[in-house]
Amino acid sequence: MSAAASILHSMPIRDEILIRARDLRKSYGEYEAVKGVDFEIKRGEAFGFLGANGAGKSTTMRMIGCVSQPSGGTMEVFGLDPHTDGPAIRSRLGVVPQDNTLDGMLTVVENMTVYAGYFGIKRKQAKAKAAELLEFVQLTARSEDQVSDLSGGMQRRLAIARSLINEPDLVILDEPTTGLDPQARHLVWERLFQLKEQGTSILLTTHYMDEAEQLCDRLVVMDEGLIIASGSPRELIDTHVTKEVVEVRFSGIHTTDLHDIAEKLEGIGAQIEPLPDRILVYTDDADATAIAIEARGIHPTSQLARRATLEDVFLRLTGRALVEDE
């Protein structure tokens, strides 16, 4: 049996709800980070919290992880109350925090076995499990190295392996690939996808739309402490934007002039959005749109027709203004 396969407990029971939150709130003094959110997460699904920095997604994750007490509303995790059953809930969670929190002085395998000890896993069993999981994240060859000698991507994979040591019912990942190079990102995605395929429930936050699209069965978009949209990636795209987007560029023409051109394109497609360097035309038929643009006597330097993505949904819902960190 492969290492990854051993993580699988049983086939997912899709109707079983692992987490249920109603009007969940969190305040820090006057500042309300989460302003009353409702969501349910089922066993076996990969659920995502999408949002810009400061949207409230990490705060929500901390409440689910029972390290932050909600200021209002109700939440049940595995049918337990986070307020009174924090240790019991945490014993069934696997957590991959944003900054890994690995111990750089310890070796790779020590990070695994020491962590296993917190769950009361016996040393012999912990060593065997650590070996399996290190194999799963392709770190077997580095198991005796000090963590401080590993690359960022390797440390991330180790943090993921560590989070699986207690065979959790739900793995929580806070921005799992932030700061990683493309190769490392893809390797992490591949492993998370494998976990998901094997029935492990996954909960992640991200501000990478491609990540959410690749990994999440269902997601919510958070903005300023509220859930502003929810559904599968496809549902969100279908609901909030058109099937396709035509990106129209004009060499040497910027902001103000592009707004003038955008006005001339009115009526083509479902929506026109001028950006500083290009115009986005949301449409269900990219070919027809391209012909219509030319028909109005407008000749762009380049036109790129592409499928609408979650990023289009996200920017449309949350706006394009830069949001500062919390």
């Binding site: 249920r20 390290v67 932050s68 049918g79 929190t101 111990d103 020491v114």
Partner: protein, 274 residues
């Protein structure tokens, strides 16, 4: 109809930890770290006391009239204090940067422990178990044995000096833990050395009788756990009379340990609730 996940998973029951089990599990991190640094502590626990004893106990001591130290040779006078001082020195290593770092990305120990079944109090107890039990056991005991070769003990009761060192450690460690847990800026960590470790080490009657200190500094001596521990240790190693009844010294150390633990528990619970 969706149903909520039931709770009969075995892990849930395992998560109901006693303080003892919680501390033991959290101690695992400190033990793993110690295995990487133990050789560095040999200097502190073996060579440093030898150097102190040769340079100060024997060297400086040759100029000191035993009458000034209650009839004891100077080496006999400082030996018990050295054993207790090592406990304070160890706390300087174990209860300042490691505690502060526990809450930060570069240390992170407390942060990853917090996402497991361990409660903040378990994390505290695990660290205290290391600093108050394990470290004095591995350092003060060795120091006491090394000093025995200098012939500075008058009876086998000297072994109790190590117990006094445990008392000093237990009395001081939770206060240092609470202090370092409440700091937000690592630049402030130096203040722990300046205003706690250093004055305690210097003004606790280790190297000279505490009553030699100016009157206005006497209250500093009285509140220092190291002074109380040294008094007890000196009674054990040399049969010297204690400033207060031994039980009073002991009661003070116990009271300080208990009060400090409650404070530290409160601070760590606040720091690890986000």
């Amino acid at each position: 109809m969706a149903t909520l996940a039931e709770t009969e998973a075995p892990q849930a029951k395992a998560a109901e930890l006693s303080y003892l089990v919680g501390a033991w599990r959290a101690f695992g991190l400190q033990w793993a770290l110690y295995r990487h640094i133990w050789n560095g502590t040999v200097f502190t626990s073996v060579f440093l006391p030898i150097l102190y004893m040769i340079s100060i106990g024997i060297g400086v001591g040759s100029y000191i009239d035993p009458g000034a130290t209650g009839g004891l040779t100077y080496a006999e006078f400082i030996a018990p204090g050295l054993i207790c001082s090592v406990a304070v020195m160890m706390l300087g290593n174990d209860m300042v940067y490691p505690v502060f770092g526990g809450y930060h990305e570069w240390g992170g120990g407390y942060l990853h422990q917090r996402s497991t079944p361990l409660r903040p109090v378990d994390i505290l107890n695990g660290h205290l178990a290391y600093a108050v039990i394990f470290r004095p056991f591995t350092s003060c005991t060795v120091v006491a044995i090394v000093l025995a070769f200098f012939g500075v003990y008058t009876s086998w009761w000297a072994a109790l000096a190590v117990i006094a060192a445990f008392g000093v450690s237990a009395a001081l460690a939770p206060w240092l833990h609470a202090w370092c847990s409440s700091l937000k800026n690592d630049a402030m960590l130096n203040s722990v050395y300046r205003f706690a470790i250093m004055p305690i080490s210097l003004f606790s009657g280790v190297f000279f009788p505490a009553e030699q200190m100016p009157g206005f500094l006497q209250p500093l001596v009285w509140i220092s756990p190291l002074w109380h521990g040294t008094e007890l240790a000196r009674a054990a190693t040399a049969g010297a009379a204690t400033a207060l009844p031994p039980v009073a010294h002991l009661a003070y150390l116990v009271a300080l340990a208990i009060g400090g633990w409650f404070l530290a528990r409160r601070v760590i619970a606040r720091r690890l609730s986000f």
